[in-house]
């Protein structure tokens, strides 16, 4: 069984206690988009400002658990000021990291609880390129929490599609 330290890394708790880029941007001109986790009721509001192909500003509102809030905070710090293309790429990489486990999870009855974690390194995701975000990789050992971690990312992706169709 994976331990709590796998899930709640120090960086995560830090971003949970002092979230970065918290709040909302005046909309307009910023774009505002809401995301819901139907499982647990978490709600997130992402305000984003895109100028000349660059995500020039982002703020995070809403409420949720430590994983969804810290993931949103880490995300905001990682994407702010980046070209939209790069942001999209990062979203892809992050979501790939979050889906590794689901794909390789042992089915009930063939391994069960004692199954060792599949090696994250074996997957075609460059976790190293994620910097601090890599702290969230432990979440994949807790499959129900994956949706918490990806909520803000999906919401941002939706917002980008709305303001800057690829």
């Amino acid at each position: 069984m994976a331990g709590l330290e796998d899930l709640y890394r120090e960086i995560i708790l830090d971003h949970y206690r002092s979230p970065r880029n918290r709040g909302e941007l005046p909309s307009p001109p910023a774009h505002r988009v809401e995301g819901f986790n139907p499982l647990c009721g978490d709600e997130i509001v992402v305000s984003l400002q895109v100028e000349d192909g660059v995500l020039s500003d982002i703020k995070i509102g809403g409420s949720g658990c430590s994983i969804s809030q810290s993931s949103a905070s880490l995300m905001s710090a990682a994407v702010k000021g980046k070209p939209v293309d790069e942001v999209r790429e990062l979203i892809g990489t992050f979501k790939a990291m979050m889906s590794i486990h689901e794909a390789t999870l042992p089915r009930d009855g063939d391994g069960g609880d004692d199954h060792e974690d599949p090696s994250l390194d074996a997957a075609p995701v460059d976790v190293g390129s994620l910097g601090e975000l890599a702290a969230l990789q432990g979440v994949v050992k807790f499959p129900v929490r994956i949706k918490c971690a990806t909520l803000s990312w999906n919401t941002l992706a939706q917002g980008l599609d709305e303001v800057a169709p690829a």
Partner: protein
């Protein structure tokens, strides 16, 4: 409370003996058993339920209502015996005709919306709900409202989680139906169904009760409750998943069109039409959950043996203890929702921690072998009314004891330490 019998002192529940019947709760999970506090979502199943289902499968299985051979006849007999036992368990006046087997409480409520609702509710008609309904007793009415152009009205709750009934006369005026839960799966509130039914009936409205939480934990008498329909699920009352119940008054059911179409639900089929079967089979298209009905029967027999009054008394005791422990040990750090007194609520305690999200609480508790639920509990209108997006919820079954509550409190302490 209407529907709860008598004041005589019930025989005490011997929890240690009860617990032995439940393999999952006796098993050693890393040096301790599981503290299972999520019976409101689904209860555990005693060995006798599983044995009854297995023995049925091994000795008696055949499709029901079809074969002429002895085994098929015996399967049919046992399936119908489960129906009668279920009817008797809730005091149904005509147990063999008024009990419809469905997939779960959700399907039972949808059945009412599709058959009674579609036949009787038209543009501008009114359905009255309460702010504490489970989505299963909200969404079918929202769907019908959208399809038919109905008006939905909501009975509000007060800050203790009780329905505010001062305005009930006005709310039900002109209504066709009142859909109300007998017990809230979040607040534990036990609603005064008989009182509501009286007002509703005087206004010409029917009452559909959601008994998913009440039937497993309180002695139920549908006549005393005064409702016209009641829905519940076997899996919350020590029975298996895959089978639910809709009880409806005989005269009402007899008047309703079928629900799904197929085998079992017809008397005759021609190229140009069909003749529906008699009740209750009219509402049971296709092969029903037979082994599950046998399992439900065994669960009902077991609950009868324990005594519903004893089950209720035990759960009041446990709830009172838990409310005390949470208040003593956590004070203002923990907010409990719902009625303050244990005898005014079922064995369901929803709470939030001042600093820790319910999802994180339940994650830490899981590490200590304590199973609670975190989320909106399929009651988002209620969550909005409470001003939260989620709560943590501990709920009890006849197999829980004070040790489980102590372990809950200890694990909450650990969570507070972890997130401090």
């Amino acid at each position: 409370m209407a529907g709860v019998t008598g004041t005589r002192v019930p025989p005490a529940l011997d929890v240690a003996t009860v617990r032995k019947e439940f393999a999952l709760l006796s098993a050693d999970r890393g040096g301790r058993p599981l503290a299972y506090l999520d019976s409101a979502a689904s209860s555990q199943r005693p060995a006798r339920v599983l044995d009854a289902m297995r023995s049925y499968e091994e000795t008696t299985h055949a499709n029901v209502h079809r074969g002429v051979y002895a085994v098929a006849e015996e399967a049919t007999r046992r399936f119908e015996a489960a129906r009668v036992a279920t009817g008797r368990f809730i005091g149904a006046p005509v147990p063999d005709r008024e009990v419809v087997f469905t997939k779960n409480a959700t399907e039972s409520l949808n059945l009412v919306a599709h058959t009674w609702g579609r036949r009787n509710l038209h543009a501008g008609d009114v359905v009255v709900l309460t702010e504490m309904e489970h989505h299963a007793n909200v969404v079918p009415w929202l769907m019908l409202a959208e399809e038919r152009g109905l008006e939905l009205r909501w009975i509000p709750i007060d800050d203790h989680g009780f329905l505010v009934l001062d305005d009930l006369d006005r709310l039900v005026d002109g209504a066709g139906l009142v859909a109300v839960t007998a017990m809230s799966n979040v607040l534990g509130t036990l609603n005064p169904l008989a009182e509501i039914a009286e007002v509703a009936h005087a206004a010409g409205a029917l009452v559909v009760a959601d008994g998913a939480q009440s039937v497993p934990h309180l002695a139920t008498d549908v006549t005393a409750l005064g409702c016209d329909f009641i829905a519940f699920s076997a899996h919350k009352m020590l029975g298996p998943t895959g089978i639910g119940v809709l009880w409806g008054r005989e005269a009402l059911l007899a008047d309703l069109p079928p629900f799904l179409g197929g085998g079992e639900m017809i008397l005759d089929v021609r190229k140009d039409g069909f003749t529906p079967n008699d009740i209750p089979w009219r509402f049971e298209a296709g092969t029903p959950p037979i082994a599950e009905a046998i399992g439900l029967h065994a669960a009902i027999d077991y609950l009868g043996e324990l005594g519903m009054d004893a089950v209720r008394a035990h759960e009041i005791d446990l709830t009172a203890y838990a409310l005390d422990v949470l208040a003593d040990r956590f004070g203002a750090d923990i907010t409990v929702y719902g009625p303050p007194a244990a005898d005014e609520r079922g064995g369901v305690i929803s709470f939030t921690h001042r600093d820790i999200h319910p999802h994180d609480l339940s994650q830490v508790l899981d590490q200590h072998g304590v199973c609670i639920r975190a989320g909106h509990h399929c009651a988002k209108p209620l969550m909005r009314r409470l001003g939260v997006t989620a709560t943590a919820r501990a709920s009890f079954g006849p197999y829980n004891d004070r040790t489980d509550v102590d372990r809950l409190a200890d694990a909450l302490d650990e969570a507070a330490r972890f997130f401090a």
